[in-house]
């Protein structure tokens, strides 16, 4: 009989990046790369597990921004163009490496992967990968979490409660629309929690969320079982805490598995390595080199010298590491269970894009781990938080501590010298949005004034897009900073123009139409209505 549970949480998220005005847009590649390297490999693994009738439970998020992009026709078609280009490149590589056995096999491997990705994307799921994850949820293997509308960082946004509330409620309604059911769990962007945030979740019908370890450990009153059992917030929503040990084994760049010398090196890509004229059609149209996704080398060691990648060795390692991870969880659970009056649950949340994109062998590792847990031992069982709450509906009540999963554990990543300027604008725009929505709430009723309704909704969309936690994060990390700054400014400016125009009583319709077609997220939702306080309250009752 098993003694405890392991809850694997994959947080799949990308910021909303869609630029119909440009034929090719570099930052859109974030999505295309993640589709090829993470989402499709995960789908392949889940399919095989279902086919082999392996028992498994995975918790994952698919944020509204990501789901919207995956369901956007323009981006879907651009992905096909992207993967076709890769197939062409891999095909050329097969010939080019014909006399070089070290790389020839790798070229063939990439060709196969790209061709499979295309088949899954186009033929199997008809361009809609969201339907794949929905299918696994409906089969009872994957539990999909809701999340904020645009990955808004709630501890800071909740200076205006209406902003935090709208982020949560738009996210939850988008979930219902996308997955055809009510969400049970919620992924707080960046695990950003402050007392009171749970209240917004409770109002939206959410039953649980996740916090970083110190969110539970520093809870008041002190938790009896540390992070190994959830706490109920006073609002009745359960908080599950991240287990630091299992996190570190995967995350840490020093001790973590992904740094193994046999694994594929992320930073060496033929886009940077091969002769310029040959690779030119596959890099940025302006001509600077970018990652193509074909990477032929393994991590090897600390030095610059890299040896060719050997897929069989990497596979061996992934199996070994999955075994090691499972063994450690068994020991951990055996030990903790002895001190508890219930089965402990170990929460291991990761960014989904770590698996496959950064850690190429990650999906394989998940596959090995799931199969080993199902067949090789009896101590640990995979479960989701709602499984756990069904088994244990009585939990300690306490108030989790303000926390995030960012560097140093608090708000510093999203609030420091490089990005603090945005909050003045976000908060001001948030206040103005509420003002607009309430002042013109009459226009939202059907047919009263269609133009005003469109303008209000677009204002809300611009505000939501400006609020993504990705922008301050990128500003802090120092790569692609300019793009993040542009995005915040652009959305704030578009918002402010609508605000001023409406206050002055007229709207430039042509302009509005163009902005609508560009920032088209949640285009079928009345986003502005989430800022009308009275209506929200009525809806909740």
């Amino acid at each position: 009989m098993h003694k405890g549970y392991l809850c694997l949480v994959l947080h799949a998220h990308l910021p909303y990046v869609r630029h119909p005005e440009e034929e090719q847009f570099l930052e859109e590649n974030w999505l295309y790369e993640a589709i090829t390297e993470t989402y499709i490999p995960l789908i392949q693994i889940f399919e095989k597990l279902v086919e082999d009738r392996v028992d498994f439970r995975i918790t994952m998020s698919l944020t509204p921004t990501l789901a919207s992009m995956l369901q956007d026709e323009l981006l879907q078609n651009r992905y096909i163009r992207h993967i076709d280009k890769l197939i062409e490149l891999a095909d050329k590589e097969i010939q080019r490496t014909g006399f070089d056995p070290k790389y020839h096999g790798l070229a063939l491997m990439y060709y196969r992967r790209f061709a499979e990705a295309r088949e899954i994307f186009v033929d199997k799921y008809k361009k809609d990968l969201v339907s794949a994850f929905k299918k696994f949820q409906d089969l009872g293997h994957v539990e999909i979490l809701a999340s904020c509308a645009t990955h808004g960082f709630l501890p800071i946004l909740s200076v205006n409660p209406s902003d935090a509330e709208a982020q949560v409620r738009v996210g939850v309604d988008h979930y219902r629309k996308t997955f055809g059911r009510d969400p049970v769990g919620f992924w707080l962007p960046e695990c950003g929690y402050a007392p009171g945030v749970d209240n917004f979740l409770a109002e939206a019908g959410i039953k649980y969320f996740f916090v970083d370890s110190h969110g539970i450990v520093n809870a008041d009153p002190s938790p009896r079982y540390s992070v190994y059992a959830p706490l109920y917030c006073p609002s009745g929503v359960a908080a599950f805490g991240r287990d630091w040990e299992s996190s570190k084994q995967v995350w840490s760049s020093k001790e973590g598995y992904p740094g193994d010398s046999d694994y594929r090196e992320y930073y060496r890509d033929i886009g940077y390595e091969l002769e310029y004229d040959y690779i030119k059609p596959y890099i940025h149209p302006i001509g600077f080199r970018i990652n193509t996704g074909l990477k032929y080398w393994r991590i090897t060691g600390d030095g610059e010298h890299k040896e060719p990648y050997v897929p069989e060795w990497a596979r061996e390692k992934a199996a070994m590491h999955a075994g090691n991870f499972m063994f450690n969880r068994e020991k951990q659970i055996e030990h903790i269970a002895y001190h508890m009056d219930r089965k402990p649950m170990i929460i291991s949340p990761y960014d989904a894009e770590l698996f496959g994109h950064w850690w190429f062998e990650g999906p394989m590792w998940i596959d090995f781990l799931i199969r080993k847990i199902a067949y090789d031992q009896k101590t640990v069982k995979l479960a989701t938080p709602s499984d756990y709450l069904r088994e244990y509906p009585v939990n300690q009540m306490s108030v989790p501590s303000t926390s995030t999963w960012g560097y140093k554990g608090y708000n510093e990543v999203w609030l420091e010298g490089s990005n603090d300027w945005i909050y003045r604008h976000l908060h001001a725009a948030g206040g103005r949005m509420k003002e607009l929505a309430e002042r013109f709430s009459g226009c939202m009723e059907n047919g009263r004034n269609e133009l005003a309704r469109l303008a209000l909704n677009q204002a809300a969309r611009e505000l939501l897009l400006a609020q993504a936690s990705d922008w301050p994060f990128i500003m802090k990390t120092g790569t692609m900073v300019e793009y993040a700054q542009k995005r915040v400014k652009l959305h704030i400016n578009r918002f402010t123009r609508i605000y001023k125009d409406m206050m002055e009583g007229s709207i430039d319709k042509e302009w509005l139409k163009e902005v609508e077609s560009r920032d088209n997220i949640f285009s079928d939702m009345d986003c502005a209505k989430y800022y009308i306080q009275a209506k929200i309250k009525k809806g909740a009752a």
Partner: protein, 420 residues
């Protein structure tokens, strides 16, 4: 066309400003207005003006805001200050000062600002229902006229603050121009309160209360036991609830009990409890019937809670299981967007590729070894190969369309690299 201001909603004089505990405080500020005339109520007093839907269509103006516009809006018509907790020991403050607020102070000082300084006054209001005068203590930070934000360091974690931007005269008189929201800084370590309250959220409770299955997602997620064959069934009641609940006394706490309990935690939490109770909760609260000490004896480690529990219960690969922030896990979903930017020290590499090209009749058939080579419409062809060290033989054959004539060309390439 200007928007007509038709009616002013009377029932809602001041906007609810911030999530926790502040509604009451704003009201207090309003009541005090007579005494403290200089304090503008912090929320831009949003009087809800319902406008008729008189938004008109306008022809495209000259400002095409489709390209990136770099100038950001300014908000300096209203004096306003906002605080954000950055971590347990730092608060970030940003503000705007309207010219009119300065004029107001000037007037009170007799027309000029001689002998004054711009300061942010920070009030420690931990466990206080702040009325402007009852702060635990306060301190000033001189910020100058033209700065608009400041990082403020604190001595303690887990405290509540509110701030005012204002003008301080040499005489000691302070003229606040706006008051901020309230912030509560995070704890930096574990709580030393150990009393336990347990909450029961089982679906039966909901039924008991006559509310139906409003509990844990019974209908929204398939339960595991319904799913795969041969898996262990989850016992819906759970073993725990039989073995352990018997040790606990079930009681229903009153509203007052709960409020008293939570108001000791943090003043900001009172609001949460209010709204929580107003939702007619269906939860049952359990208090342990054993004394806290008895409970702790149940655990092998005496008096271990929270972080200590975590620290003692360390096993597995990790050498330490220490907590406080998670510096080791630089997470964040968007770590992914870190593009290749790995710093390289000096390096030097050489690669070699080989291009072989030729021509023949457009309808001829060319092979390299036994592999067919594609010809261009004009009969030319070229191939490109990576060239590793060693010898590469390249045996080409060409055959005319009628297979009568064949030619064979073999060329050999050798690459040899040496390092010095």
């Amino acid at each position: 066309m200007a928007v007509k201001k038709t009616k002013i909603k009377k029932g809602k004089p001041i906007e609810r400003v911030y999530r926790n505990g502040r509604e009451a405080i704003v009201r207090a500020a309003v009541k005090r207005k007579a005494k403290l005339k200089t304090v503008t109520p912090l929320a831009p007093a949003v009087t809800v003006i319902k406008a008729p839907c008189a938004i008109q269509e306008r022809k495209s103006a000259s400002r095409p805001l489709l390209a990136n516009e770099y100038e950001l809006p300014s908000y300096d018509t209203v004096t306003k200050i906002t605080l954000i907790a950055k971590d347990p020991y730092w608060i970030y403050a940003y503000w705007e000062i309207a010219e009119s607020s300065i004029e107001d102070v000037k007037r009170q000082l007799g027309g000029n600002l001689d002998g004054t300084r711009f300061v942010v006054r920070m009030y420690d209001v931990t466990y206080k229902d702040f009325n402007g005068f009852n702060a635990n203590h306060w301190f000033d930070i001189e910020v100058g006229r033209y700065s608009n934000n400041w990082y403020i360091s604190l001595w303690n974690d887990n405290v509540s603050y509110c701030g005012e931007i204002g003008i301080l005269h040499n005489s000691g008189r302070f003229f606040p121009m706006a008051r901020s929201n309230f912030v509560h800084t995070p704890r930096s370590n574990s709580s030393n309160r150990f009393e336990e309250v347990w909450m029961d959220l089982s679906p039966e409770i909901a039924e008991e209360a006559g509310i139906g299955m409003a509990g844990m997602g019974q209908t929204s997620l398939p339960s595991v036991s319904n799913r795969a064959e041969g898996t262990v069934k989850y016992d819906a009641a759970g073993r725990f609830s039989y073995s352990s609940v018997s040790k606990r006394r079930k009681i229903y706490l009153t509203e007052a009990d709960l409020r008293a309990y939570y108001s000791r935690l943090s003043p900001l939490l009172r609001d949460i409890m209010f709204s929580r109770i107003s939702r007619k909760s269906i939860y049952r609260y359990l208090y342990s019937s054993m004394s806290a000490d008895e409970w702790r004896d149940v655990l092998y480690f005496k008096r271990l809670h929270g972080a200590e529990f975590g620290r003692k219960v360390k096993i597995g690969a990790s050498e330490f299981a220490y907590l406080g922030g998670s510096e080791n896990f630089q997470g964040g979903a968007s770590e992914f967007v870190q593009q290749p930017g790995k710093k390289r020290s000096f390096f030097f590499e050489i690669g070699a590729e080989l291009i072989v090209y030729g021509r023949t009749e457009p309808d001829a058939e060319v092979k390299l070894g036994d592999k067919k080579v594609d010809l261009r419409p004009d009969g030319t062809f070229s191939m490109r190969f990576a060239l590793p060290d060693g010898q590469i033989p390249l045996p080409f054959t060409a055959a005319s369309k009628d297979k009568i004539e064949t030619r064979k060309i073999t060329t050999q390439v050798k690459r040899e690299t040496s390092y010095a």
